[in-house]
């Protein structure tokens, strides 16, 4: 059994719903209509384009193409992490800390899964590599943005407490221990919640997609469990690394809080 193909008319009917939402927003002056329409347009254009890119990528099977696409995904995710923070690190640090953290966790876990768990030939078969990396990057990006954002904002707000602790002779690690714990927790809560609710409240997207495409539910479930574990560990490692690097950057070697290093 293969999936029932969608016609442009099906998509157009679904788009009517979004348009209705925009009209409702306008009528009740929520001011969201512009954002709703632009986001819907972006989704359409971006996904149509990526469909074309993926089709040629799947046909080419070259490692260099894959690396190129993966790098673009990473850089865009890095920009997104930066854009979501109210007070990011100043200079190139804001971009590089997030990007590096996502690179370390998402890329290494994707390679781990491709080589040791899935074992396609060649191991970088784009049909597996790109969706896997996409799901990992997407979730890690959310976690890293939340974790870094929480740390920088709290450091800014709780400056008096952090400096009060430093003045009592605490090290930068001791003075930020609560803050780092809260930030890591903030970054990891979404994925922990979705693991806890998976299957009962929500049917995760990938599994739903596989079932719609005709895979037996038991096979789809196995893939979904694998993905959940990968996403959880990828997000967790990414958040840990990013919060650690952010905390490191916000202090100098004399254990001074350097809020001047925030934008």
């Amino acid at each position: 059994m293969s999936a029932i193909a969608l016609t442009p008319l099906d998509l157009a009917l679904a788009a009517v719903l979004v348009a209705a939402l925009a009209v409702l927003s306008y009528a009740s002056s929520l001011g969201l209509e512009r954002q709703v329409l632009i986001s819907a347009l972006r989704t359409t254009v971006q996904l149509l384009l990526v469909g074309l890119v993926l089709r040629s990528l799947f046909e080419s099977e070259g490692l260099s193409w894959l690396v190129g696409v993966a790098s673009i995904m990473l850089l865009v995710a890095g920009r997104e992490v930066l854009a979501r923070q109210a007070r990011p690190l100043a200079g190139s640090w804001g971009f590089s800390v997030g990007t590096l953290s996502m690179f370390i966790s998402s890329f290494s876990i994707t390679v781990f899964a491709l080589v040791l768990l899935i074992g396609a030939t060649p191991w970088y078969l784009p049909q597996y590599a790109i969706p896997l990396l996409g799901m990992l990057l997407g979730n890690t990006m959310n976690g890293v943005a939340l974790g870094m954002g929480r740390f920088t904002e709290s450091a800014h707000r709780e400056r008096a407490v952090i400096e009060g602790r430093l003045l009592l002779g605490q090290t930068r690690e001791e003075a930020t221990s609560d803050l780092r714990r809260e930030s890591v927790r903030t970054g990891m809560v979404p994925i922990l919640n979705s693991m806890a609710a998976a299957g009962i409240v929500s049917l995760p997207g990938m599994m739903t997609g596989q079932i719609l495409a005709g895979s037996p539910p038991t096979e789809a479930v196995k893939y979904q469990i694998l993905i959940m574990f990968l996403i959880a560990s990828g997000t967790g490692f990414g958040v840990l690394v990013s919060v650690w690097l952010t905390a490191h950057r916000l202090f100098d070697d004399r254990h001074r809080l350097r809020l001047d290093r925030l934008r």
Binding site: E163, G164, G169, R256
Partner: protein, 198 residues
């Protein structure tokens, strides 16, 4: 155990030079915004600065920063508290009787921070600093939020600490009468320079 400051520059202020002898207290006054707090922060190595700050011939740069701040104890104008109760803010081996001179009973350590008044917090912040035994005190308006009785009590305690520990003390105050009560030499911070007042 003298506290020596040599050509200290911080932000756009300085150079500041001063030597505070063991068990000597100097007062520092100055208009608001003149940088009194910034001076203390630089001395506690909480802000970047240039020049030499020495305690007993050991310069700040030779000591790890946390250790320097244990020796050079700064009391910020507003005390910061991070746990729910008092106990985590004090050394674990603190015997509760040590809080008595500050006007607190033995069970005070179990109190929650929320129920403390501003004045109580300030007295406890002074206690928290002194029980750690710093060798130098940098006090930023230590009694600004206290009633007259407690101003008295804290002045006496801080003076006793200074004598018993031979500690140099820099006392920032906006009250000339207090300055003349607690300090023997008086300085004013003006245009980024520290000038001795008669």
């Amino acid at each position: 155990m003298a506290f020596e400051v040599d050509s200290l520059r911080f932000l756009d202020r300085g150079p500041v030079d001063i030597v505070v002898e063991p068990s000597e207290c100097v007062s520092i006054m100055g208009a608001s915004g003149s940088g009194k707090t910034l001076l203390l922060r630089a001395l506690a190595d909480l802000d970047p600065h240039e020049g030499r700050v020495c305690l007993d011939d050991t310069s700040c740069a030779e000591v790890p920063a946390p250790k320097w701040r244990c020796q050079v104890g700064m009391l910020p104008a507003e005390s910061a508290w991070w746990a729910d109760t008092l106990a985590p803010h004090f050394p674990q081996d603190l015997s509760a009787v040590m809080l008595e001179p500050f006007g607190f009973e033995a069970d005070a350590l179990t109190w929650t921070i929320q129920r403390l008044s501003t004045g109580e917090r300030q007295r406890l912040a002074i206690a928290r600093l002194l029980v750690r035994g710093p060798k130098v005190l940098l006090l930023d308006e230590p009694t600004a939020s206290l009633d007259p009785d407690n101003v008295d009590r804290m002045e006496t305690l801080l003076t006793r600490y200074r004598m018993e520990h031979n500690a140099p003390v820099l006392w920032v105050s906006h009250d000339p009468e207090q300055a003349s009560r607690v300090a023997t030499r008086h300085f004013e911070l003006r245009d980024g320079r520290l000038l001795e007042r008669p």
